[in-house]
Amino acid sequence: MPATIRLQRENFDPGAEAAALSRGRTDVGAVVTFTGICRGAEDGAPIAALTLEHYPGMAEAEIVRHVEEAGKRWPLLGVTVIHRYGRIEPGENIVLVVTASSHRDAAFAAAEFLMDYLKTRAPFWKQVESASGRTWVEAKAADDVAADRWAKPPGREAAE
């Protein structure tokens, strides 16, 4: 399965990335694209920017591992994951997940699986920059619940 995984400071073009997964082939019947965008407010208060810190090396490895896991769980024909780091202003893209499959159920499920895992297991941390200073975003319990729905019986990985 063709997989593209990139961590980068630069913005990306979701449409171009999605188009690349089906170009020149006729086995892809469904492409699901998730784009995560920096909002202008966090918990109702306006923000100036987000700064994303990451753990180089581990972030790539975690994403690769989860893309491989997705490829085992669903009949995917291609996956692209791009995650930005550094300073990101409201309206800018943060993260992209694209999944391609013959049928829509696999493409949807794999895209949701990857997003749930990126939120809770990929080593990235968001800091909010606002009029009142800089604060680290707190992890949301709802994200853990979302990730837990994909859990398999324990024993497969040390921290799962």
């Binding site: 810190e53 753990y55 581990m58 993260v95 939120k119 809770t120 990929a122 080593p123 968001k126």
Partner: protein, 86 residues
Amino acid sequence: MSQLKLVYFAWVRERVGKAEEEVVPPASVATVADLVRWLGARGEEYAHAFENPKVIRAAIDKRHVRPEAAISGAREIAFFPPMTGG
């Protein structure tokens, strides 16, 4: 015990006051939880960073581990808050 590289991220890094360091913990430090306790006793900034071990996540050689994981053989151990990517 041999030398160990520690790396810190997000507010753990800010509280400790550095992004990484090399340490040589005593032989009694066998697990990640032991290491957190040992680090917490190294000074005010460490005590602050590790004051609530429940919210500290750890990775050994770039893989997530639980507090009870053994650290023997580790080259790099990372400490950080719960992740907020995506």
